[in-house]
């Protein structure tokens, strides 16, 4: 499946969410969003996403804790991609250890996302 995936954007900046939503919906995907750890867990458990774009710093906690909880429940998305402004080696190592497919460092090239998503899903 390369188009029509369900993508969950976990991001507390409404400005970033709205830009990514336009891009990904234009590419034919179904988009949900969550701005907190609690909302993300609730949304992902209710409607399991194919791809989760995961901001690491959220107002109510650590973004990676979402992936940890979902993995523990056997509810992890097919692909999780960390999106973060922090590119310190220990942050990147933790993302990889917890199973993130990619780590996108803000400001990432968002226009390349539709192509990358097709690739991640094709190689899953």
């Amino acid at each position: 499946m390369t188009i029509g995936a369900h993508i969950l954007i976990v991001e507390d900046s409404a400005l970033v969410v709205s830009a990514l939503r336009i891009l990904l919906e234009d590419a034919g995907h179904r988009v949900s969003d969550a701005g907190s750890v609690r909302d993300a867990l609730e949304t992902a458990r209710r409607d399991r996403p194919d791809i989760m774009l995961l901001d690491l710093s959220l107002a109510d906690g650590d973004g990676l804790s979402i992936l940890e909880s979902l993995s523990a429940d056997g509810m992890a998305p097919r692909v999780t991609v960390a999106v973060t402004g922090r590119d310190e080696p220990h942050v990147i190592a933790r993302c990889k250890r917890l199973g993130c497919r990619e780590i996108l460092i803000k400001p990432m090239n968002a226009m390349a996302l539709p192509g990358q998503i097709a690739e991640w899903l094709a190689n899953d």
Binding site: L15, V16, S18, A19, I22, P89
Partner: protein
């Protein structure tokens, strides 16, 4: 209590007074260090936080530019491209501040891989060539045959080269020349190293400023800095990156004739 005149202080009393002064100065140094660390942390936090809204600005503008929300007129497109360029310039500056903050906090480390310096020079020259051509500059590259491969942090060496070449283009008037040469260092004091030269026929730098340009927040000429907006951190970061590799960086320049920036990267082999 009757004040005791300094001349009548006993040795013990003088030692005690001296010790108190040393303690006081130690406290001042500690406090300054703490404040400096706080400032560095603040720079780091602000830089990280700026990345999110910058991502939003540039992405929204790119969506408009690419016609995802409908076709734009030529003038609208020009305006949007202006927003994107400004946004990217800001992103670059935020990146530099973050890099500086990391360097100041001693958090920079190397991720060495083996690569040919020629490939990095070619990559950076290709990136800046459109800018040079647009400005009417001639750009040339000369890499000595048989140069040893480097075991170095490719990303950081690329950053140094991009910075030097970007400056060369910025500070050279239309019709001028910029060049990059790479060769084995021949001077004994440089040891076994690859020597990279980035030269230009630009405005040049006065001799008294040759050291100053590598300091943080330095732009030696106020009128030049008005034309070349930046954080003033580029060369300070370049020096930090070169020194992390145990290399050297320096400039030879004559005002009105041009500048030649040199840096070395010691040749090491992977075990």
């Amino acid at each position: 209590m009757t004040p005791i005149r300094a001349g009548y202080l006993s040795v013990e009393e003088r030692l005690a007074a001296l010790e108190e002064r040393v303690n006081e100065q130690t406290r001042t140094v500690d406090e300054l260090r703490n404040r400096d660390a706080l400032k560095t942390q603040f720079l780091s936090n602000v830089s990280h936080d700026l990345r999110t809204p910058l991502t939003a600005i540039v992405t929204h503008a790119e969506i408009l530019r690419d016609g995802i929300l409908g076709e734009l007129t030529r003038k609208q497109l020009e305006s949007i491209c202006g927003i994107i360029s400004g946004g990217r310039q800001l992103i670059g500056m935020v990146g530099e501040i973050l890099m500086y903050a990391r360097g100041a906090a001693g958090q920079l480390s190397l991720a060495p891989t083996e690569f040919a310096i020629g490939s990095v020079i070619e990559q950076v020259a290709n990136q800046v060539e459109p800018l040079a051509v647009k400005k009417g500059l001639e750009i040339s590259v000369d890499v000595e045959n048989g140069l040893s491969p480097l075991l170095a942090d490719r990303e950081k060496i690329t950053h140094v080269l991009s910075n030097l070449l970007g400056n060369a283009i910025d500070f050279t008037e239309p019709g001028g020349r910029v060049w990059v040469n790479a060769s084995h260092a021949t001077a004994i004091e440089l040891g076994a190293a690859v020597l990279i030269e980035v030269g230009d026929s630009g405005i040049g730098i006065a001799p008294e400023h040759h050291e100053l340009v590598f300091r943080e927040f330095a732009q030696v000429d106020a009128s030049a800095s008005r034309h070349h907006h930046g954080t003033g951190l580029g060369l300070a970061i370049a020096r930090k990156f070169v020194e992390l590799h145990d290399g050297r960086i320096w400039v030879e320049s004559t005002p009105g004739v041009g500048s030649r920036f040199y840096f070395t990267v010691p040749v090491r082999t992977a075990r």
